[in-house]
Structure formats: structure tokens, C-alpha cells
């Protein structure tokens, strides 16, 4: 794909780090959910399905940020923020529904709360890019 302006776009500069971290989470969440669904799907269907959903969201966000698709990135990162908040709250209020952990359980405490911080940073980055008036 053609680079419009070297040095701009959601995958440039600080975005380079953001895409890398999203990529790591995409691979990690995909690996975790594949393993869970392949070996123990019947034991905890809800959290394992959520792990798979999280994996898809991370993959889409990584792709969108890397290829400068701002609208798709906003949808994916927004979904991620809603997901981590909803799963975070419900995993604390209804722990019996979460017999095993997902990436988003307890606001991502198992991953150093990076899953909670990441979408906030992602939205900040996307909105900042918007304000710079790219056409």
C-alpha cells in the first residue's frame, strides 16, 4: 500500500510501539484461547469464548493501527475498552461465572493491568492523530 506521508499515520512514531504491544496481545490472546478451547472448552465456555473474542479484537486493532485505518481502529479499541470494563466489573461481582481467567478478568490484573491501560492509550493516540488534521 502507498505511504501517503512518511512520518504520519497511526502506525508511525509512538504508534510503532502501540502496534507492537497490540501485536503481542493478539498473539498471546490467540494462543491462550486456542489452547483453552482445544483442551478444556466444556469446563468454562463463557470465559474461554471471551478469550477468543478478545483475541479477535486485538488482531483487528493491530491490523487497523498498522495500516492506518483510523475508523476501524477506533471501533476495535472502543470495543476493547468496553470489553475490559464489563468483564472486569462482572468478574469481580460474579466470580462464580468465571471459573478460569480471561485476558480481561479483574481489569487485566494477570497482565499487569496492561489490558486496561492499552485501550485508553490507544484512544488517546487515535484522537490525537485526528486532531492533527490528516486528510
Amino acid at each position: 500500500m502507498a505511504e501517503q506521508h512518511p512520518g504520519t499515520g497511526t502506525g508511525r512514531g509512538f504508534g510503532r510501539v502501540l502496534v507492537f504491544v497490540y501485536g503481542v496481545f493478539a498473539v498471546a490472546a490467540t494462543g491462550r484461547s486456542t489452547l483453552q478451547l482445544a483442551t478444556q472448552a466444556s469446563e468454562a465456555p463463557v470465559p474461554y469464548t471471551l478469550s477468543a473474542v478478545a483475541a479477535v479484537v486485538y488482531i483487528i486493532a493491530t491490523f487497523a493501527l498498522a495500516t492506518d485505518r483510523r475508523r476501524l481502529a477506533l471501533v476495535a479499541v472502543g470495543t476493547e475498552l468496553v470489553g475490559v470494563l464489563v468483564v472486569g466489573v462482572t468478574s469481580l461481582l460474579l466470580p462464580e461465572d468465571y471459573p478460569d481467567a480471561t485476558v480481561w478478568s479483574d481489569f487485566g490484573a494477570g497482565y499487569g493491568f496492561v489490558p486496561l491501560v492499552l485501550p485508553v492509550v490507544g484512544l488517546w493516540w487515535l484522537l490525537r492523530q485526528g486532531h492533527q488534521g490528516r486528510t
Binding site: 508511525r12 512514531g13 510503532r16 502496534v19 503481542v24
Partner: protein
């Protein structure tokens, strides 16, 4: 943590300090640091083989072997992925990618130890 993991963690953390200095001074990594990362990667491949032998051989019953092997494979991927991804961005952003990559390595060792301990 086995000695190889400890040694690699020390090298990765030293690399991280080096990368922070580069970030502050707004420089990109030169040959010496990339050579060091290549050496770490070779050691990680040795670590992968040793780890698979260890977990399939004498692991306690409760250790999740596939999860352990998944982490062993994962830790090998960060540095090559980071070097390739950062090479397209000769700026602070690219250098920061390498910083994230080298910090992930010790983190993965901690997770490996946790998985092993959970089965013990």
C-alpha cells in the same frame, strides 16, 4: 528460575537500560546492541530446546505442558519481531519497540516459573 534464564534476564535488563539511554539521547541502536540481541536470541533458541526436553521429561504431573511450550515458543519470537518491526522506523518509536521486546523476555520467564510451580 534456572541459571540460563537468570543470565538472560540480566542481559535483557542491561539491554533495556542501554535502550533507555538511546531513547533519552534520541539515538537509534547501532551494531553492538543488535549483535548482543542476536546472541540473546541464539541463547533463547537453546532455552527453547532445553525447556521442551525438561517439560516433556521430568515435569510434575500438574504442569500444563502445552501452555509451557507455548510460552517457550512465544519468548523466542519477541526479539526477531521487535528488530524487524523497529527497522521500519528509525526514530524513538522504533527504539521503544526494542525496549518493549527485551522487557517481555524476563516477564515470560516469570510466567514459565509460575506455570511450573502451579504443577508442583
Amino acid at each position: 528460575m534456572i541459571p540460563l534464564q537468570f543470565a538472560l534476564s540480566v542481559v535483557c535488563l542491561l539491554s533495556a537500560v542501554w535502550l533507555v539511554v538511546l531513547l533519552v539521547r534520541d539515538r537509534t541502536p547501532g551494531r553492538p546492541l543488535l549483535n548482543l540481541l542476536a546472541a540473546v536470541e541464539v541463547a533463547l533458541l537453546v532455552h527453547l530446546v532445553l525447556g521442551i526436553v525438561r517439560v516433556t521429561g521430568d515435569a510434575p504431573d500438574g504442569v500444563s505442558q502445552w501452555e509451557y511450550i507455548g510460552y517457550l515458543i512465544g519468548v523466542v519470537l519477541f526479539i526477531p519481531a521487535g528488530v524487524i518491526w523497529s527497522s521500519g522506523e528509525k526514530s524513538r518509536g522504533g527504539t521503544a519497540v526494542l525496549l518493549v521486546a527485551v522487557l517481555l523476555v524476563p516477564f515470560m520467564f516469570v510466567r514459565l516459573a509460575d506455570i511450573w510451580a502451579a504443577g508442583g
